[in-house]
Symmetry: C2
Subunit: 493 residues, 2 copies
């Protein structure tokens, strides 16, 4: 082997698909999560924080990527325990639901039942990174474990609406759409869809938004040509089998009552289907009692939700205001949260049925929405910068900064090389500093300090006349004891 | 292979060395971190959040576990990129300093210089778990990158003191001890310690607290017998080589001025040593100007700090109050934070010197200290529990809970099976509920609601006389519109 005397330098790069968050990107997300956590807490949900690492067997395989059943998670094997066989496989959690199911099973004798918990934190997906798609992102979940009552679903849905409003999404800018997996199962039963056809049928049903009712009808039966002229094979259902599925997809009426009636017809004689319709009716009644009108939460059969583990009510929150996409076209902002009932996840561990329902908010998408609405995205307030005219006077500078902080004013001393004063003002500019404090040896001897209003200075430099310049001086000399009050007055104006 | 028709159930277990945090364990830590972040922000430090995953090459190997240079981190290899060779090795970060060095190099043209940043979040160590030692834990760091000035170190040290006080540690209950690696290097130079002996000498110096000055002298020279009678071999220095090391270890005087004079003598003619002493003198002067007396921050040569990457001032914050250890013996609480200057970490990436200094707070230990002092560890306030007498009245119950929440009162509806009312009160007890709300069909018809003070009820059940029982009824019936005010009055008393 060739001797490598000079190792190459490590690359200073975020790993592919990961990113760094700076300043306001961090604090704005935190502020949003704090507001959401307060709503969860108000509803009696308790905080839970599990670690980022779980055993692979506890996580299970519930990611939608069915084509690569072993992919999707970051996993590694523990070192073998001496004399104890091979080590466990560990993995980073890919959501907050799987760890909750593990916790609900592990502590089932100690937790209150029903157990309401919220959790927020990063999750990891070992996926191909793409624009705006990252391999670590935040989720913010609330779940109720141990209640089969549709009241638990209704409560989560109502709480989601409150959380969106607390985050800064105005009423009218969002809509929570609710469906029930049992209704869909009932429709498939009524349509005599074989079990081995169900997944195919669901895949076509999911295209409703794109190809419309007639498109789905063709895809369920004999097939159709797509826009490029290519023929897409159909599932092969008979026309009278496709009919109930179409009835289901187009069941949304002018109000919940009519939608429910249409769904009742679509499920035909299916017991599961009727149960699903009854659950939706109960949820609709509870939401109405809690004061949520149909312009905030509505029953909508078009909501399917990708994850395979849902067993009952499912829902999705969409933001309804328009934004411009990459190509400058108007489109609705779209989904920011979703959830539903998953009655089988805890049973994996214990063998006993433990009903559960919950919601997950897509933190980064919701934050992006707040930025679109001007509710976030402002640069963080920069600190007051105390400049340094002379290294020997560092102690005085630190004392001035300490005094400002004691008064609650964000302040820092310039810690670079003090020789070039222009660099200090450039630094203050880069920091977004509203005010700079200057005290040379001469000023110190006279017991005064210069206070420079950088915001006003920038305005004046841009536009003011000489008269204005004189009338509103951007820099004032004040007695040293007046430092804090002078700075505060500048910050307040 | 035998056919395994019934796969075994997954174990519901936290992976070895990891743990879950419930309720107040989460919210108290968060509250403490919020208070510390506010102090960092006040000092002009900006938030930075990097992801948990870094490339192994960016992280580097700076963990103290020198015996297992490849251990200490959780690492895995990315799948090979088709046609692009083998995949990167990725790992979970083991601290927040290595990612900062990577960020400082990666964004060196965009960040202000000096760059002050704070970061808080989990880090992971692939170590053997032990009692109270976990493989995921929180750190809370603040660093200044790009300033070689001792003023940057002094600022960090002063900020650490403020952060401890903001977290809830009273003045007098902590002491920050400051040393300088250059002083130690100067002492080794003065003692003519060969480079290959330096690590051995440091190992013995670190035993000063345990074996005292004479013990260290023996270990540096010919060796000594330990308590068990076993002979510990010495490093083999001559007596006149050991002398400056001992002078260094015992250099702490009655005040900083005397300590500095003693250190000046200990480093003899070493230039690096004199530089270190001058740095400590400057830091001491700045801290004094910022109003930090020697009972809060003091120069102490006994502080060494394990990590290999420190190059200048180092410091450690200790809590000085006594607690009882596992065996009931009094001992000081000990270290909760530490840091220092590391001028070479960014250079790894860029080849250019970038001075840096920072502090890391051990979040879990500091939180444990707050619990010792009664500043944390209280159970979180439970919610008001609205009981359910009849499934059909769920909507009314939800409406009552919604009304309480609208008034800012934490409230939840019982979502278990309502048939056994005793279970509902047991549930309320387990939730730590202060108040229960009860409204059966009869009460609803009469337009009233029962409000039960569970705190008072528990007191009365324990001790009250019949007279008190009557005078202070734990349960009252009030008109339905008086629900919120009645609950609030009970919560306030």
């Amino acid at each position: 082997m060739a001797k490598d005397t000079k190792p190459r330098r490590p690359r200073a790069e975020t790993p592919k698909g990961f990113r760094d968050y700076f300043g306001a990107e961090v604090t704005e997300r935190k502020a949003m999560l704090d507001r959401i956590a307060a709503i969860y807490d108000l509803h009696g949900f308790d905080a839970l924080e599990t670690s980022g690492v779980e055993t692979v067997e506890a996580l299970g395989k519930f990611l939608p990527d069915v084509d690569r059943p072993n992919a999707g998670v970051f996993a590694w094997q523990e070192e073998a325990v001496p004399g104890g066989g091979s080590g466990d496989w560990l993995a980073l959690r890919y959501d907050l639901t799987a760890p909750l199911a593990r916790v609900a099973a592990q502590y089932r004798n100690d937790l209150p039942s029903p157990y309401r918990r919220y959790a927020m934190g990063p999750v990891w997906r070992n996926e191909k990174p793409g624009p705006g798609r990252f391999r670590q992102f935040y989720q913010c979940d609330a779940d109720t474990v141990g209640s089969a009552s549709p009241a638990a679903d209704a409560e989560i849905i109502a709480m989601l609406a409150s959380a969106l409003e607390a985050a800064g999404i105005a009423r009218g800018d969002y809509l929570v759409r609710v469906n029930d997996r049992k209704v869909l199962n009932g429709v498939l039963e009524a349509a005599r869809v074989r079990e081995d056809q169900a997944a195919d049928v669901l895949r076509q049903v999911d295209k409703f938004d794109k190809v419309g009712a007639e498109g789905v009808r063709a895809l369920l039966t004999a097939g159709r040509k797509d826009d490029s002229g290519a023929f897409i094979e159909g599932v092969g259902l008979a026309e009278d089998q496709a009919a109930p599925v179409l009835a289901f997809l187009t069941a949304k009426g002018a109000d919940n009552a009519r939608t429910l009636a249409n769904l009742g017809a679509a499920v035909g004689g299916s017991v599961a289907g009727a149960e699903g319709v009854a659950e939706l009716a109960e949820i609709a009644a509870l939401l109405s009692a809690m004061g949520l009108d149909e312009d905030r939460v509505v029953i909508d059969p078009a909501v399917v939700r990708g994850l395979g583990y849902y067993t009952g009510p499912v829902f999705e929150a969409e933001l309804t205001f328009e934004i411009l996409d990459d190509k400058g076209r108007k489109r609705q902002f779209g989904s920011v949260a979703g959830g539903g009932r998953y009655d089988d996840l805890v049973e994996r561990f214990t063998g006993q049925k433990v009903p559960a329902t919950g919601v997950s908010i897509g933190v980064d998408r919701l934050l992006a929405a707040l930025r679109e609405k001007g509710q976030a995205g402002r640069a963080a307030a920069g600190p007051v910068v105390v400049t340094v005219m002379d290294r020997d006077r560092m102690a005085d500078c630190q004392a001035m900064a300490a005094e400002l902080r004691a008064a609650g004013i964000r302040a820092e001393v310039y810690l670079g090389n003090p020789r070039n004063f222009g660099n200090q003002l450039k630094y203050a500019d880069r920091r977004g500093a509203p005010v700079a404090v200057i005290q040379g040896t001469d000023e110190a001897a006279r017991g005064v300090v210069q206070v420079k209003d950088l915001v006003l200075g920038a305005q004046i430099a841009g536009q003011a006349s000489v008269e204005e310049w004189k009338a509103r001086p951007a820099q004032v000399e004040v007695p040293r004891p007046a430092l804090v009050e002078t700075v505060r007055a500048m910050l307040d104006r």
